[in-house]
């Protein structure tokens, strides 16, 4: 049966690139790369790495960035959910936040930069009246040496992600009942939630949290746009070495990727220790019966932070759009003196190729990933049980192993078989990242399907494939299209896989946008970043409108 292919393809796509990629990174890290004359094993690349200036500082910055980002975003999400879940305010903020999930990291980073830079919108709003600035002050707000802007950029992007996975886990713990029960014992909202509900929720979102740690410790695009430059975080330096025309730098880059792997592993290790410590603290407080009823300030702080993170991105995105149409816009004017389409007209010819690549890679990888996810889920239906924990860990594999650590090796592999910078290779690389999201987002709605429809149709004499095509798929149209839109937005946002596997010859709007970061032409950056955020939005609009149109006469298919 066709469905048997699903799990096989999925496991192959998730593990083979990571396994081969890791091998292709680790071997050169120990000097073995016959194509470049490295035929024996040596510690020379690692020694060279140790000799790089401030390498320890870069590594530590990556480690701290990952931990701080995760701690802050998870903290905000936990407190906000604790304080407000089940209220109308929660639902409103949730609706405000959800679309932000589809905004690519790079676009969100640009949004933040355009807002907080010394010449950014915030400074313009209060200048010169409050500040007395008539020209942008010479402050290192973006690219600050402590990496605060970079962490902020990551936090505002990880909050929507973590909120969404928390919301997905929430219904299984019957929050309304439990909250009432705990409140009746006299516990404050936040305390009651943290003691009673969070311990049940957290195990379910643990893998996504690890994915956030892995991403934040090894991020390249956000770090290039917002992060420190002297020295940059580890992953940014690695990619620099990797792209060095001097091919022998690959040994150094691979050694660096090995260090990156260690940094991410260390971050996750430290996190696990933190988990244990906080769990012990929580147990102690719960056993002491601390009611924690005076939590109003914390509740409002959580609300404020959540709102702030959402509004930051929205305001930043609006600023990006503004810049893309701006004519003359002198500091400290709050708005451009004029709007024009000239920027777009000038950029458009250069835009078409990357745009086309973006669309082809996005659409094909999404279609394939969605199809494989459906096959896997259909196979689960046949088997009568969901896959075990091991399979779920496998799905998170490409999200938890830092991208640089296996993409270097994967690029090498594609170079050796002569298919680097081909469309097929790029689509394959995107699939590795799109597939986990496609599967993870589809599994709950797929399993929520009332199996009696299928049994009933069987009773009506319909064969399995007809039930699948005529009943299951049509009734699943909405979740399937939503998943496709999510997959598409993941593909659009992928920076490093595109950069390395596209090898500079196949570029997407995301790689182009990040490449422009150092140039500082705000109008052009505005256009690329604007497109980056519009493409996923169009995907979600299609996913909403198409089922609404197809099923306009079927009320129960509307919601």
């Amino acid at each position: 049966m066709l469905t048997r292919l699903g799990p096989v393809l999925a496991i192959g796509l998730l593990t083979a690139p990571v396994a081969f990629g890791l091998a292709g990174t680790i071997l050169p890290a120990f000097g073995f790369l016959p194509a470049l004359g490295g035929t024996g094993f040596s510690l020379a690349p690692l020694m060279a790495l140790a000799g790089e200036p401030a390498i320890v500082y870069s590594a530590l910055m990556s480690l701290v960035t990952g931990l701080v980002t995760t701690l802050v975003s998870l903290g905000v999400v936990m407190l906000f959910t604790a304080a407000w879940s089940g209220t109308r305010a929660f639902a409103r903020v949730q609706h405000l936040i959800s679309p932000l999930l589809s905004v690519p990291h790079a676009a969100a980073a640009f949004a933040l930069a355009f807002l907080i830079a010394p010449s950014g919108l915030l400074a313009r709003m209060i200048s010169p009246e409050l500040t007395g600035w008539h020209r942008p002050p010479d402050l290192l707000v973006v690219h600050d040496p402590m990496g605060l802007a970079m962490m902020a950029g990551l936090v505002v992007k990880e909050i929507p992600f973590l909120l969404l996975v928390t919301l997905a886990a929430l219904p299984q713990v019957h929050p309304a009942r439990t909250r009432a029960l705990i409140a009746a014992m006299g516990y404050g909202r936040i305390g009651g939630f943290v003691f009673g509900l969070w311990p049940q929720i957290y195990p379910q979102i643990r893998l996504p949290v690890f994915a956030v740690i892995a991403f934040a410790t090894s991020v390249v695009d956000v770090a290039a746009i917002l992060g420190p430059t002297t020295p940059p975080p580890l992953a940014v330096r690695l990619v620099g070495w990797m792209n060095d025309p001097d091919l022998s730098m690959r040994f150094l880059a691979s050694a660096g990727a090995l260090l990156q792997l260690a940094v991410t592993a260390a971050a996750i290790g430290i996190w696990i220790v933190l988990e244990k410590l906080t769990a012990r603290l929580r147990e102690r407080c719960a056993c002491a019966g601390l009611r924690l009823r005076g939590d109003a300030p914390v509740r409002w702080t959580a609300f404020g932070l959540m709102l702030l993170s959402a509004l930051t991105i929205f305001a930043g995105l609006a600023t990006l759009a503004l810049w893309s149409f701006a004519g003359l816009w002198q500091f400290p004017d709050a708005l451009p003196a004029s709007f024009e389409l000239r920027n777009w007209a000038r950029v458009l010819p250069h835009l078409l190729d990357p745009l086309l690549t973006t669309l082809i890679v996005g659409l094909v990888s999404t279609a394939v990933a969605t199809a494989i996810a459906i096959l896997c889920l259909a196979r689960e239906d046949e088997m009568g049980r969901p896959p075990g924990r091991g399979a779920l860990r496998l799905i998170y594999l490409p999200l938890i192993v830092p991208q640089v650590a296996f993409l270097f090796g994967l690029q090498l592999l594609f170079i050796l078989i002569g298919s680097v910078a081909t469309m097929t290779a790029l689509i394959l690389a995107h699939l590795v990242f799109v597939l986990p999201y496609a599967y993870l987002c589809l599994k709950d709605p797929w399993r929520a399907f009332d199996r009696r429809y299928d049994q009933l149709a069987a009773g009506l004499g319909k064969a399995a494939w007809r039930r699948f095509l005529l009943i299951r798929l049509p009734m699943m149209t909405r979740p399937v299209l939503t998943v496709a839109a999510i997959g598409f937005s993941v593909s659009i946002g992928l920076y490093l896989p595109t950069l390395l596997i596209g090898a500079g010859r196949l570029t997407t709007v995301t790689t182009e946008a990040v490449a422009l970061a150092s140039g500082g032409n705000r109008r052009v950056i505005g256009i690329y970043a604007f497109l980056q955020m519009m493409l996923p939005a169009i995907g979600f609009a299609v996913a909403t409108l198409v089922p609404a149109l197809i099923f306009r006469r079927h009320r129960d298919m509307q919601v």
Binding site: R452, L456, G459, G461, K462, P474, H554, R555, D556
Partner: protein
């Protein structure tokens, strides 16, 4: 044993269903065409499991032995879709992406050929449950009683060998429940279908008028 092959109706031949080695149903019964066998028992006793077994969608967690026949055919040897066991659940489960008429046309056997012939059969099936003229409607716009009738018309349209009823009246209000019971059993008699009914409502069993088997508890 030979008499089995000549007698019509549904025959459950030493059907045993077990979960984790614990027997939950053991049954040998014959249901004549047009007659009803009511299986009663508290919830969780395995009533619906028996229906799932006969219908062909027993959860793999269960183990089952024995056979079920309709007329001369051993249906337990067939795939679910080849068994032609018409099922009614407690929810009407009309396909929400099809019109009322679409639901019925989907159920009609493939042997009914030609658009016009199929439409005609569909309209007659709707008439048969007192809902003539509703074929273009979206199922979501029907009342609860109308939905139940469409579900009945749909299952009858599929020309089943037998009817499996899984507490089909339990979600209807009292007046409607009596009406639907009468309609379902009348239709089954009219079409000569053996009926396997599982319920925990004594009134269902009384209205069905056939044998009653108690399981569990």
């Amino acid at each position: 044993m030979n008499s089995r092959l000549t007698e019509a109706g549904l025959f459950l031949d030493r059907v045993t269903i077990a979960l984790d080695g614990r027997e939950i149903v053991t049954l040998t019964r014959r249901v004549a065409p047009g007659a009803v066998l009511t299986v009663m028992g508290p919830s969780g006793a395995g009533k619906s499991t028996l229906l799932a077994y006969v219908g062909g969608f027993l959860d793999p967690a269960f183990t089952a032995s024995g056979r079920a026949y309709v007329d001369d055919v051993e249906i337990t040897a067939l795939k679910p879709e080849a068994r032609h066991m018409g099922i009614l659940f407690q929810d009407p489960l009309l396909f929400p992406h099809m019109s009322v008429g679409g639901n019925l046309m989907f159920a009609l056997p493939q042997e009914v050929r030609g658009r016009r012939a199929r439409r005609e059969r569909m309209c007659r099936a709707l008439e048969g449950v007192g809902l003539a003229g509703l074929e273009e409607r979206d199922p979501a716009t029907l009342s609860g009683g109308q939905k139940a009738r469409v579900a009945l018309a749909r299952v009858l349209a599929s020309a089943p060998r037998a009817l499996l009823l899984d507490e089909p009246f339990s979600k209807l209000d009292a007046a409607l429940r009596a009406q639907m019971r009468e309609l379902v059993f009348a239709k089954a008699r009219e079409s000569g279908l053996p009926v396997l009914l599982v319920t925990h409502d004594v009134a269902d069993a009384q209205a069905a008028g056939g044998d009653i088997v108690e399981i569990g508890g």
